[in-house]
Amino acid sequence: MARNERVAVVGVGQTKYAATRGDVSLPGLLREAVFRALDDAGMAMGDIDAVVLGKAPDFFEGLMMPEPYLADALGAVGKPLLRVHTAGSVGGSTAIVAAGLVEARVHRRVLTVGWQMQSCSEAMWALSLPMPFQQQLVAGAGGYFAPFIRAYMQRSEAPDDIGILVALKDRRNALKNPYAHLHEPDISYDSIKESLMLWDPIRYAETCPSSDGAIAMVLTDEAGGDAAARPPAWVHGMAFRSEPVMAVGRDEVSPLAGRQCAADVYAQAGITDPREQLDVVEMYVPFSWYEPMWLENLGFAEVGDGWKLTEKGVTALDGDLPVNPSGGVLSSNPIGASGMIRFGEAALQVRGQAGEHQVDGARLALGHAYGGGAQFFAMWVVGADKP
């Protein structure tokens, strides 16, 4: 069988992320990202062959399957239009579905968009809809994940303040990212430590915000990548993995699906030592402690040692494995976009287009997303060189 088509990321466009984007309509939010991505790629809407959209639950905006409604806004009329939904990992999954269309030589130029307009309702409502016969005990995503974080802390015997260090790093990185939702120049170790403990061990300042936002990417075949005006990012590997939300033997602290997804992507990209070979990581960290947890799950550290990388500053912007130079999910979280932002930021890094949060000399980067009860994973590795 002939080799699959190489996939290039030739355009990335992001909206300014904010609690409420009061200046644009819902389609206008997506269009801001789309036109910026097209400009970056030197293309117009008419150059695009197909559009792939992703976002998390429809109840957020109170719109049922809004993609047909958005067709006109995205220049998708007369084109194929797909909508992916894989919970919080959806931004990553959507990019992978879009890239698959190029890889399989079905289309040459694909526009993909991840978005969420959380200001339409409230995350606490949309993510924890009241259900008959149930007792409301979990209190949003934080209440769901906090017990697993506590289990990680206990297993790894990590110092209590690792989460604070992650939050401080990501929020300070966000100051270098003009698109980030949270810009808190005065944030400090003490201010995070003193913030309200919402779901002990998760403090308010260690929690992702609720954002409006969209990100768009233009993906092309090899010829498109070769002809791109700005350096493209080349896709070296991509995969998604899913496991059940509740299954006997499942490890919610370091899910098998995450480990297997990473192994698959590394194998595709020829990565045998991720800690050495990858230059930068954009990982999905909605609560601070997930940085050390994913460092282990993704093979950057031995089990129980992830927090040591954080503590030593390895994951800082000037460390030797920068994690979330963009400020990450902790600084901007339009849920349906958040995974694709990780993928897009990874691409920006290897294109040398990340601006003030550029990691010097980044050649190979990992974009990572997870969703559901840490049961859905999507990842890609992108590089400055062709695979």
Partner: protein, 351 residues
């Protein structure tokens, strides 16, 4: 392009209400049947993709719970579209084309009975200009039906004939929900539900689901004697602006049919996803079907499980190719209001 075929298809017996089961209990037997028909178990599936909508039953992350039905352990390569399962099949077809999988399980399901479906579907329209009016799906379809009648392209009698023909055909379909012999004159004597639509012009509200197994190349040949090869598949979307569209047309259906290569040969059988009678007429004008038998299953007028009805059209055509009763068929799926989005596939058997 790799040769990819539908090798297995299973569906629920569709009904107005399946209150006895939750969504995972609804779809699990169908998934199991689709795999067992070709002797596969869950470890043999290379990729899994499903289609569903949270809004139908009011269950956020509905697909998360339903994933239990495939037993995704150890972890699997899996994705989900918030669309009809026909588009999940499309995603799986692309995945197989990349070589990342040789087989795929595709399923779609919907329980519409928990809510007032026409009202729920109003949440799919433009939220600024349509949403506050709660324009329901039957009324929207009626605006399109009126445009057809006013344009002289269709009469209410022809619509009634489509209803009668579909429900009569469904008598041979053990999974259909509305079937029997209906008299055209009697239908025409009934009051309108949403003028010019009578109840018979509308699809039933259904709970149900379906599952399909795809396989590539020699794997497909090994699993069934006569795979239903997907010779072409494409999908397109039209403008959402109902007031700016010519409602008597579905250009995206014509374009998808062209891209899928419908006109490349004689069509023995076609399954069109036309929930309302007038929509079959629109699709017949857009998709070149010549003398094909249309909707021998009864189509969506006989059973319309949301998020599965499009996938079922693919399954019904495949079934007829696999059993040798047809050599070449066309399957169509639609999404959105007024046939806004359309998928067309051409399926063929060997020799």
């Amino acid at each position: 392009m790799r040769d990819v075929a539908i090798v297995s298809f299973a569906q629920t017996v569709h009904s107005r209400r399946r209150q006895d089961v939750n969504e995972v209990e609804l779809i699990q037997p169908v998934i199991q049947e689709a795999k067992e028909r070709v002797g596969l178990d869950r470890h043999d599936i290379g990729f899994t993709c499903s289609g569903s909508s949270d809004y139908l039953a009011g269950q956020a992350f509905s697909f998360v719970m339903t994933l239990d039905a495939v037993g995704p352990w150890p972890p699997i390569s899996e994705s989900h579209v918030e669309m009809d399962g026909a588009w999940a099949l499309y995603e799986a077809w692309v995945k197989i084309q990349t070589g990342a999988a040789d087989t795929a399980l595709v399923y779609g399901y919907g329980k519409s009975s928990p809510g007032d479906l026409p009202r729920v579907l109003s949440r799919q329209l433009d939220p600024y200009y349509f949403g506050p009016l709660w324009l329901d799906s039957v009324s929207v379809a009626a605006l399109q039906a009126r445009a057809m009648i006013d344009s002289g392209k269709l009469t209410q009698r022809q619509m009634a004939e489509t209803a009668a023909r579909s429900r009569a055909a469904a008598k041979a379909n053990p999974f259909a929900q509305v079937k029997g012999d209906f008299d055209v004159e009697a239908i025409l004597a009934e009051d309108c539900l949403a003028d010019p639509l009578r109840r018979h012009d509308c699809p039933p509200v259904s709970d149900g689901g379906a599952a399909v197994v795809l396989a590539a190349d020699d794997t497909a040949r090994r699993l069934v004697e006569r795979p239903a090869w997907i010779r072409g598949i494409d999908h397109r979307v039209d403008s959402h602006n109902l007031g700016a569209r010519d409602l008597t047309r579905a250009p995206s259906a014509a374009l998808a049919a062209h891209e899928a290569g419908v006109s490349g040969g004689k069509v023995d059988v076609a399954e069109l996803h036309a929930p309302f009678t007038h929509q079959e007429a629109i699709l017949r004008a857009e998709i070149p079907l010549d003398g094909a038998e249309v909707n021998p299953s009864g189509g969506a007028l006989a059973a319309n499980p949301m998020m599965a009805a499009g996938l079922i059209r693919l399954g019904e055509v495949a079934r007829r190719i696999i059993d040798g009763s047809a050599d070449r068929g066309v399957a169509h799926a639609t999404a959105g209001h007024c046939l806004q989005q359309n998928l067309v596939a051409v399926l063929e058997g060997d020799g």
